[in-house]
Amino acid sequence: MNDIGGAIWVTVNLAATTTLCLLVIATPIGWWLSRRRNLFKDIVTAVIALPIVLPPTVLGFYLLVAMGPKSPLMDLLHPFGVRTLNFSFAGLVIGSIIYSLPFAVQPIRNAFEALGQRPFDVAATLRASKLDTFFNVALPMARKGFLTAALLVFAHTVGEFGVVLMIGGAIPGKTEVVSIRIWQLVEQMDWPSAHRLAGGLLVFAFAALLSLLVIDRRWSAQNDA
C-alpha cells in the first residue's frame, strides 16, 4: 500500500505534538497536585485518571459530540471559521491530550513529590524566589519524571485506536494513523502489509518500554552513587 508512509507520518506528528502539549499542560498540574493533598485534589486526580478506566469509545463519543457543529463549544469557534473539529488533525491532538493526560501527569507529579521539602527550604534560605526555585531547582531535579512522561505519552498516543476511529474519519495524510491503517488492511485481507505495520509497532512499543526501564535503572544507579 502506497499510503503507509503517510499514516506513519501522521502518527509520529500526532504523537510528537501531543507530547509537547502535554509536557506543558501536565507540569503545572503535576506540581499543584504534588503539594499538600486534599479532597478537591483527589477529585481532580480521579478526573484526570478517567481515560485509563473508560473505554475509548466513551471518550470518542463525547468528543464527537463536543467537537461537532451543534456543540456549544464549537459555537465559540464559529467566528473563527471553524465549524467542527471532528475529522481534523487539531481534533485528534485534543483527543490525544485528554486520552494521554494521566500518563503525563502521574510521572511528573511523582517526581515532584519525591523531591520532598528539603530542596525548597534550602532554596528559601538562599533567598531564591518561588518562580526561580521552580525553574532552577524543581524542574531539573524532576527531569526523570519528565522523560518518563514524554516517553509514555508518545508511546500511548502511537497506540491510540478507539478515539481516532470515532472522530478521525480516516483522511489519508491528515487523520489516518497507523493503527487505523492496520485495521483497514485486516478488513481488506491485506495480511502482508498488516504484518509489516503491526510488526513495526510491536518493535516500537517494546523499544519504548525497554528504554524506559534502562533509563530508570541508570538514573537510580547515579542517584545511589
Binding site: 464527537l64 459530540v65 467537537m67 461537532g68 457543529p69 451543534k70 465549524r83 467542527t84 471532528n86 475529522f87 476511529l165 470515532m166 474519519g169 480516516a170 483522511i171 487523520t175 485495521w183 483497514q184 485486516v186 478488513e187 481488506q188 485481507m189
Partner: protein, 249 residues
C-alpha cells in the same frame, strides 16, 4: 485475594451458563450495516413465527468476510454485495446453492440539513462544504459505490480532500446525522423511513448495482428457515418497506 477469588468464581459460573444461553434454536447472523433496521424487524417477526432467536451482528461486509475466513461462528451472512458471498461459496466456507439476492440496495446522497442536497445532486460539484462522508471502500460496498459514482462523474479529484470515511455505513450515517459532515453517501434504507434532512437518489446507472447477497454458512434447519423467511412474502414486505428493491420471480 477475595476479590480475585470472587472474580474467578464469577468466570466459572459464566462458563457454566454460557452454553445454555446459546441454545440449539438460536442462530448467529452477520449483517451488513445498511441492513440493520430491516434485519432487526425481520428477526423479530421470524422469532415470533418460529421461536428461533436470531442473534444479529452488524458491521461492514469486508470485516465480516475476514472474520468468517478466520472461523467466526456465524450461521448466515447477509452481505452488502455479491462479491464476498460468492467468494465464500467458492472457498467452501458457504453452503453451496444457498446464495441469493435478498435485497437490491440504493445509494443516496444525504444531508441532515433540509434543503442542503438539491434535487439533482449538483451540491457536490458546487463544493460548498467541508466534509463529504462515505463508508470506507476498503470494507464497505456502499463506499465502493460512492467512489464509483464520484469518479464516473469526474467529481472525485475535486472532493478527494474533503472525504471522511466511516468504518461502516452506520458510522458514516452518524457522521452526517450529527452534522460533523455536511453531507455524504449512505444507503437509502437508512433514511427511507425517517425522511429527515434532504436527499438525492444517485442514478442507478452511475454505479455497479448493489446486489446484496445472503449465504448460509452452517447447514442447519434454523439457518435455512431464516433465509427462506427473507424470501417469503412476509420477509419481502419488511425488506421493501425500507426502500430496498427485491427481485420477484
Amino acid at each position: 485475594m477475595t476479590i480475585r477469588r470472587s472474580f474467578l468464581t464469577g468466570l466459572a459460573l459464566l462458563a457454566l451458563i454460557m452454553p445454555s444461553i446459546a441454545s440449539a434454536k438460536d442462530i448467529q447472523v452477520a449483517v451488513a450495516a445498511n441492513f440493520t433496521d430491516a434485519a432487526k424487524e425481520a428477526a423479530s417477526a421470524f422469532e415470533k413465527k418460529t421461536g428461533t432467536h436470531v442473534s444479529l451482528s452488524f458491521g461492514p461486509s469486508g470485516g465480516f468476510y475476514s472474520q468468517i475466513q478466520q472461523g467466526a461462528p456465524f450461521d448466515a451472512f447477509l452481505s452488502a454485495d455479491a462479491e464476498r458471498p460468492t467468494k465464500l461459496e467458492t472457498e467452501g466456507l458457504g453452503i453451496k446453492g444457498t446464495r441469493f439476492v435478498y435485497a437490491y440496495g440504493t445509494l443516496v446522497l444525504w444531508s441532515a440539513t433540509p434543503g442542503f442536497v438539491d434535487s439533482k445532486g449538483a451540491v457536490i460539484a458546487k463544493g460548498k462544504f467541508e466534509h463529504l462522508a462515505i463508508a470506507d471502500p476498503a470494507s464497505a460496498p456502499y463506499g465502493v459505490a460512492a467512489v464509483e459514482y464520484l469518479k464516473k462523474r469526474g467529481l472525485y479529484d475535486a472532493v478527494a480532500a474533503k472525504i471522511v470515511k466511516g468504518s461502516s455505513i452506520a458510522q458514516t450515517f452518524g457522521f452526517i446525522d450529527t452534522g460533523s459532515a455536511e453531507l455524504g453517501f449512505v444507503a437509502l434504507s437508512q433514511v427511507y423511513k425517517s425522511g429527515k434532512g434532504s436527499r438525492w437518489i444517485v442514478p442507478a446507472g452511475d454505479y455497479t448495482p448493489m446486489d446484496q447477497q445472503a449465504i448460509l454458512l452452517k447447514d442447519t434447519p434454523e439457518g435455512r428457515a431464516w433465509l427462506a423467511f427473507l424470501r417469503s412474502p412476509e420477509g419481502v414486505k419488511i425488506i421493501t418497506s425500507y426502500g430496498y428493491k427485491v427481485h420477484t420471480s
